[in-house]
């Protein structure tokens, strides 16, 4: 087996979750790489969508912006932001990926600010952009992130995008569409899902080279554990070759 870095592993694992014929709204960077990899491996008809309006482009290179020309290169449609968001709201978008500075045990994500005074943030981030919309309206939300105890915390400073809110049924009671929510959190150490009842984050498998203790020590809240914890299947030679040679030959993302 080849050597690989954590970013390569996360992208490969994410790609395995994107089946042929599904729709996915992605941002720039790792989610876009995962979607391109899935297309080239097992999901040629994965429909990649960008929030500025690009639908099903044949990406000639990694976009710098979710609205740049690459996102409409030989696309099926160059549409609009309301078109993409309304397609999500109508229930036609299966997957999306989010990033953020903090995530809690219910998969709620902060990409807005650090501090307690909204009017004068200690550290300001870009805000929701389309993140809240996609987390609210796509069927399944995934996240790829390096894991540490500061980022995975029970007390996020600001809930930008909804996970399962306070757990249980609270997401749907708040009015968010039924059946939507966080699906997989893919870290450098493990793959997590969410408990069916409590909606609390649950470890499904541990990545090669890490132990159960590492995963818990690098998380600010108690994790649940699936009954049978396997080892995450490492990237295959095929996955790595296509990722390195075709998806990200300049190592913009996998070189990070």
């Amino acid at each position: 087996m080849s050597d690989y870095n954590p970013m390569e592993l996360m992208i490969c694992v994410a790609a395995r979750n994107l089946e042929d014929g599904a729709t996915v709204v992605v941002g720039t960077g790792a989610p876009c790489a995962a979607s391109m990899l899935a297309q080239k491996l097992h999901s040629p008809n994965l429909c990649i969508m960008f929030e500025a309006g690009g639908i099903a482009p044949i990406l000639p290179a990694m976009p710098i912006s979710v609205g740049d020309s690459r996102t409409i290169h030989r696309a099926i449609m160059a549409s609009s932001m309301p078109e993409i968001m309304e397609t999500c709201q109508r229930g036609m978008v299966d997957y999306t990926f989010l990033g953020g500075a903090q995530i809690d045990m219910y998969g709620n994500i902060n990409s807005t600010m650090i501090g307690s005074d909204h009017a004068k943030p200690k550290v300001r981030f870009p805000g929701s952009g389309g993140a809240n919309d996609l987390a609210s309206l796509c069927w399944r939300t995934m996240m790829m992130t390096v894991q540490d105890a500061k980022r995975f915390t029970a007390n996020i400073d600001f809930m930008t995008s909804p996970g399962y809110l306070k757990g249980g049924n609270s997401r749907y009671e708040a009015g968010l569409p039924k059946g939507t929510g966080p699906y997989r959190i893919i870290t450098n150490m493990a793959i997590m899902g969410f408990d069916d009842e409590t909606k609390w984050m649950k470890v499904l498998s541990i990545n090669p080279g890490y132990a159960r203790q590492d995963v818990q020590d690098n998380c600010g809240f108690e994790l649940l554990w699936a009954d049978a914890i396997g080892e995450t299947e490492p990237p295959t030679d095929d996955e790595l070759r296509i990722l390195r040679e075709e998806v990200d030959p300049h190592r913009y993302i996998i070189g990070r």
């Binding site: 000639p60 996102t71 709201q89 929701s128 919309d133 909804p162």
Partner: protein, 336 residues
């Protein structure tokens, strides 16, 4: 302050932050009643448009997507004429937000996405500006602002939707929860957003303001309808015959538009689909000089305050030779 209603035993929540614009549909109609529908030539200049169409304190919106198909000349001129106390729709804003932050032109902002330039990183100066507390902030999202603009484009006062419920984004917005009168479903209601002024960059436009636009349109069709005063900058002015030959392609009609300016390479240093790619070196330079406020001041003096207009700025940054390179990158004809 949060106003919480009690209705049918269910608590309906409200966002606590300010709504910076008037969502009232009748007052909007009263304005649009007097907006000219005349098919008349509207050619103007950047200097004139910014001088006469934007007053200090106005609420403005910028079309495109941050560093894609943006009306850079107008954004620069707002800084050059030192417009102040503007309200700003931080909707898909990136480089435009960065430039207006450098000029400290606005003091209130509806936020969907600010400070960042997507994969390029965060603007150090825009971040300082927002963290300083000088700008009043109300949180929204990309879809939310799209739909607020769409509500205005439809001549309504609000739009219901199913996002942001239950989050801090809702809490720090100006949204309200409502119940569907037909199903009882809980929705977030977003107030219509009627900007005082919008600038949109397009590929082609005739002298009356009929526009062709290619590539992702973001929210610009709704923005042209929703805004009280609209300026179009265009890569090319085309004859009205070209509009009439292919009326399906008319993306924005003349009656939305108050002024038209021909502005080749007008989205520079941003990307213009099918025309030229973004100038990543120059955008990196912006991010680099912003680390030090003195460097930024010198940079702005040279690039914006010290240039007479957008053409001088283009020349300063490589002129037609640079544009040829960016065109080759866009068209994938650069041999790479």
């Amino acid at each position: 302050m949060s106003v919480e209603l009690q209705e049918k035993g269910r608590e309906l929540k409200s966002g606590i932050n300010e709504i910076f614009t008037d969502p009232d549909a009748d007052r909007a109609r009263a304005f649009f009643r007097n907006k000219s529908r005349a098919l008349k030539p509207k050619l103007s200049t950047v200097e004139e448009v910014v001088k006469t169409m934007i007053r200090d304190g106005d609420y403005i919106a910028i079309g495109g997507f941050g560093a894609n198909r943006i009306p850079t000349a107008i954004v620069h001129e707002i800084v050059r004429q030192r417009k102040k106390n503007l309200g700003f729709a931080g909707h898909t804003s990136t480089h435009d937000f960065q430039v207006l932050s450098a000029g400290e032109c606005f003091n209130r902002c509806d936020i969907a996405y600010i400070i960042g330039l997507e994969a390029r990183g965060l603007s150090p100066n825009a971040r300082r500006y927002i963290e300083s507390g000088k700008v009043k902030l109300t949180e929204w999202t990309n879809a939310t602002l799209s739909w607020r603009i769409k509500a205005a484009a439809m001549g309504l006062s609000f739009m219901p939707a199913r996002n942001i419920l239950g989050t801090d984004t809702f809490k720090y917005s100006g949204a309200k929860e409502i119940e569907c009168p037909f199903t009882g479903q809980k929705y977030a209601a977003f107030p219509a957003l009627y900007p005082d002024f919008a600038a949109i960059h397009v590929h082609e436009c005739d002298i009356y303001g009929n526009c062709h636009l290619y590539g992702s349109s973001v929210s610009d069709q709704d923005l042209a309808k929703a805004s009280k005063r609209v300026v179009i900058t265009a890569e090319r002015i085309i004859p009205n015959d070209e509009i009439r030959r292919n009326p399906e392609a008319t993306f924005i009609p003349f009656w939305c538009v108050d002024a038209v300016i021909e502005m080749p390479y007008g989205s520079y240093p941003g990307n213009m689909p099918y025309e030229y790619f973004s100038d990543e070196e120059h955008l990196k330079e912006w991010l680099r000089v912003e680390k030090d406020p003195d460097d930024l001041k010198r940079f702005l003096d040279r690039q914006i305050y010290g240039t007479k207009n957008f053409y001088e700025y283009l020349e300063l940054n490589g002129g037609i030779e640079k544009m040829k390179k960016l065109r080759a990158i866009e068209l994938l004809t650069n041999g790479k």
